[in-house]
Subunit: 205 residues, 2 copies
């Protein structure tokens, strides 16, 4: 489990010539980091004078951010596993026609999975942008920059995951699948850019 | 040392109601992550057919990225320490006029330090953008999305560090210092945004 590694070790493994963990896992880590900051700002707002009206909202945010953080931490491994499955499919035997055909199918399935995993990460991270907006507007204003950093980390998580969807789409032959996902990628990309801009415009320093 | 903590523990500490590690440490982590990806792409290019002409360049990049990663990993703690020093200065005694005056001075010094540490992180990360551009253009094209993710992580590192400079400037009374740093912040901010855009425009998927 990559989550059990120290920061130092995890980054050493990333830096090595092994392709995993790579950009897809980093996208998930970035999303987990964004939610850790959201949870921190919520925790710094709970019980604080001047924030009486948002106590219930902050408690809900802290709890949803915690859940989300844990999911994204799992996704660090899920993305690495999806890549490993592609590699494994390429190593299947190809001596007979039957083997060749089932290998081809396994490769295509593994690429679809390797596109779907980061797409899910991107969608989930996009859905948290609203919560980040709330934390920036209504959370402890002494920690407003932490909310801003969360917005940027979540934006980068979404866009990074989408790059990993796109590179895998390049190897997929099912046109309908590729078209459907390409459209989703474009929509999420423009949405997240707008949302980041809108959140950061609320941070006055 | 935060770098020795597991990813899971580090994010749990971030999420807690303790203000450190916060956005400043996350900025340094984000920069370290960007360089880990740069090093990986360089390592995936070294010894690869079709990349004969860039071998020496890739070896240099791998080595510079490794150094940079280690520095940024140290900065995760440096930023947290800078914040702790501000907190410590506020706790100094203020019974006599002399104590009040030296406490005030210590607080001002600690805020200056807490602005300078992330400014240095921002500058260093900005300086790595050129290397990231090279890796995207000349590195192993199978890993081009990892270079794109590195560009976005570095951009987010720079902007996140700058937010942390700005929030600390708000507490500093030395106008000359504030004006000088504000100007630097604005310059770095617009530079890094342009550089990210320019790098990502070279990624064709």
């Amino acid at each position: 489990m990559l989550e059990e590694k120290s920061i130092k070790e995890f980054l050493e493994e990333t830096a090595s010539s092994s392709p995993v963990p790579g950009g897809g896992s980093i996208a998930a880590l970035s999303a987990a980091t964004a939610l850790a900051l959201v949870e921190m700002v919520a925790n710094l707002t709970i019980g604080k004078k001047g924030y009486e009206e948002v106590q219930e909202e902050m408690k809900k945010i802290a709890s949803r951010a915690e859940e989300g953080r844990k999911e994204f931490i799992n996704d660090i491994d899920r993305d690495a596993d999806a890549f490993d499955k592609v590699m494994a499919a390429f190593k299947l035997p190809k001596n007979t026609d039957e083997e060749k055909s089932s290998r081809k199918q396994a490769i295509q399935e593994s690429f679809k999975n390797a596109a779907l995993v980061p797409l899910e990460v991107a969608k989930k991270a996009l859905n948290f942008m609203e919560m980040i907006s709330t934390i920036v507007e209504k959370g402890n204003q002494n920690a407003v920059t932490d909310g801003a950093v969360a917005a940027m980390m979540a934006r980068t998580a979404v866009l990074s995951a989408l790059y990993n969807v796109k590179i895998n789409l390049g190897s997929i032959k099912d046109e309908e699948f590729v078209n459907k996902l390409s459209k989703e990628v474009d929509e999420i990309e423009s949405k997240v850019k707008e949302l980041e801009k809108s959140i950061l415009s609320k941070v006055n320093l």
